[in-house]
């Protein structure tokens, strides 16, 4: 396990079966920085070079909203997970 995985292992999640994060893949394809994959504190975004697709590990999302603001083309469809889903911080 890498260090981020160790950190995320301590977080309680109730994952939904659909993603609350919906990047516009056409924008991701031409995006140079892929900055979401750098700044996300949970490593939610990974660029798959072979498939030319942004992988979204939405179940790890900490719901901070940084990707929504950092995305250079503002093309991440971002909403809160359903009321019963997502992260539950116990030590916030």
């Amino acid at each position: 396990m890498n260090e981020l995985e160790d950190k995320l292992y301590t977080v309680k999640y109730t994952p939904d079966n659909v993603s609350h994060l919906q990047p516009v893949q056409e924008c991701c394809k031409i995006c140079k920085s892929k900055i979401c994959s750098v700044i996300c504190p949970a490593g939610v975004y990974e660029w798959d070079e072979d498939k030319q697709k942004l992988i979204v590990n939405y179940e790890n999302c900490l719901e901070c909203g940084a990707c929504r603001i950092a995305c250079e083309s503002s093309s991440i469809g971002w909403e809160y997970p359903k009321g019963t889903k997502g992260v539950t911080f116990k030590q916030g």
Binding site: E3, L4, D6, K7, L8, T10, V11, S33, I35, V38, I39, P41, A42, L62, E63, C64, G65, A66, R68, I69, A70, S74, E79, Y80, P81, K82, G83, T84, G86, V87, T88, F89, K90, Q91, G92
Partner: protein, 435 residues
């Protein structure tokens, strides 16, 4: 459609400090109020550094110290200026009769606040996300959740830094990466006695670290440490634009901070209890959105009410919530929910420390941000270099050392740059004290 069953007097969206303070103020005046929280419980989606402030909290909960889940009362404030591998630390310690602040865990404390609000008549609906506001005839009339619509005379937006609802009704524009800091935090379990020993405090006493530099040298970012009963919270917040421009991972910076020789011994052998992340509003006065409109008010982080220089947020949240609650009660008394009636909220905010403080620091983040390399990089390093020089015993005559140190300031950087630094510093000082 609107009917008797799904109509109330006030709906508050968001069960954090701002929303709860607002709702409880309304309930205490005998009015109907529903508070909608998206998490499993209040505090379950919230993260902060670590301390709530005693006096503002007493304004909402006069006797909170008797029953609230508090961790430690803070008696010491340390300002640590970290170099690459050295540190200068200034500390202010005083045991006040009334502690200035207490560390709390939001998952416990916000939950306690919500329970208190329930006791006073606030109806709390948890695990429910408000997806949009219902607007008609220019008035905000209610909220649309995943399941149903609720109507109210007034809707208060306490939905936090991302406030999608304030955005929906055009109260705030698009946030840019300069307007927020991304904060990551780890809560590290340690035995209470170990915490007491390492931070030089007694049981129930706590110590706050404000951390400059280290892995954030030259960046608009700060670190923090707070002591809880059985754990230490350590984290940092860096302006999102810095992370974007420099291509940095926030948790990698935190890992480096944890390894700094000043910090590492304090958390040694601790067990990670929880990792978390959250945004902090950084825009200050200039980024305050529209605060009120027909049938709606915006409070707390949703209104970007954070004084980042003084690490104040929950107090601004609570007091803005209280003022919005008082405004709602007056409006309900007159049955006038127009923009004009709710403008009372902004007037009172302007009269309070909240807007006054934010106005005082309106130029600060911009000014420091422009010269972050200097103010948060070069000069902190130089301060550490001064103390290194001052404490080194090596048979070199002192006058020679002083001269060398002073000379270095003029050779490290161009005279014109030094002049610009001084000018910016003076301008900022002027804007804070006088303008």
């Amino acid at each position: 459609m609107e009917n008797q069953e799904n109509k109330t007097e006030v709906i508050v969206v968001g069960g954090g400090p701002a929303g709860i303070a607002c709702a409880i103020t309304i309930a205490r005046a005998g009015k109907q109020v529903i508070l909608i929280e998206r998490g499993k419980f209040s505090g379950s989606k919230n993260v902060f550094g670590g301390a709530i402030y005693t006096k503002p909290t007493r304004e909402i909960f006069p006797e909170f110290e008797k029953s609230a889940p508090l961790e430690r009362k803070n008696i010491e404030h340390k300002f640590a200026l970290l170099g690459q591998d050295d540190a200068t630390v200034i500390s202010y310690k005083k045991k006040n009769e009334i502690p200035e602040s207490y560390t709390v865990i939001r998952g416990k404390f916000d939950r306690w606040m919500a329970e208190e609000a329930k006791k006073e008549g606030v109806i709390i609906v948890e695990e429910t996300v408000v997806r949009e506001l219902i607007v008609s005839d220019g008035f905000v009339k209610g909220v649309r959740t995943e399941l149903e619509d609720y109507y109210a005379n007034i809707v208060v937006l306490a939905d936090g830094v991302n406030s999608l609802l304030a955005k929906q009704i055009g109260f705030r524009g698009k946030l840019s990466p300069e307007d927020v800091a991304l904060s990551v935090k780890e809560v590290i379990k340690l035995p209470p006695q170990t915490i007491n020993d390492r931070f030089h405090v007694n049981d129930d006493e706590g110590c706050i670290y404000e951390i400059f530099g280290g892995p954030m040298l030259g960046m608009l970012g700060l670190g923090f440490m707070y002591t809880n009963k059985n754990s230490v919270s350590i984290g940092l917040g860096v302006t999102l634009s810095e992370l974007v421009e420099k291509g940095l991972k926030p948790y990698a910076l935190l890992d480096k901070l944890k390894q700094h020789p000043e910090i590492a011994p304090l958390i040694k052998d601790g067990e990670l209890l929880e990792y978390s992340a959250h945004l902090i509003p950084e825009g200050g006065y200039k980024k305050i959105p529209l605060l009120f409109g027909a049938g709606v008010m915006v409070v707390g982080d949703a209104a970007m009410l954070v004084n980042n220089l003084h690490w104040e947020g929950t107090n601004l949240a609570m007091i803005s919530g209280k003022i919005a609650g008082e405004t709602a009660v007056i409006a309900l008394g007159k049955q006038d929910f127009s923009e004009n009636a709710l403008s009372h909220y902004q007037e009172e905010l302007e009269n309070s420390f909240i807007i006054q403080d934010l106005r005082t620091y309106k130029d600060l983040m911009g000014g420091v941000g422009e010269r972050a390399e200097e103010f948060l990089g070069y000069y902190p390093k130089k301060i550490n270099a001064f103390f290194e020089m001052f404490t080194t015993v090596d048979s070199v005559p002192k006058r020679q050392k002083y001269r060398k140190f002073i000379k270095s300031i003029f050779t490290d950087r161009k005279i014109t740059e030094l002049f610009k630094d001084a000018l910016t510093a003076l301008k900022l000082l002027w804007s804070i004290i006088i303008k």
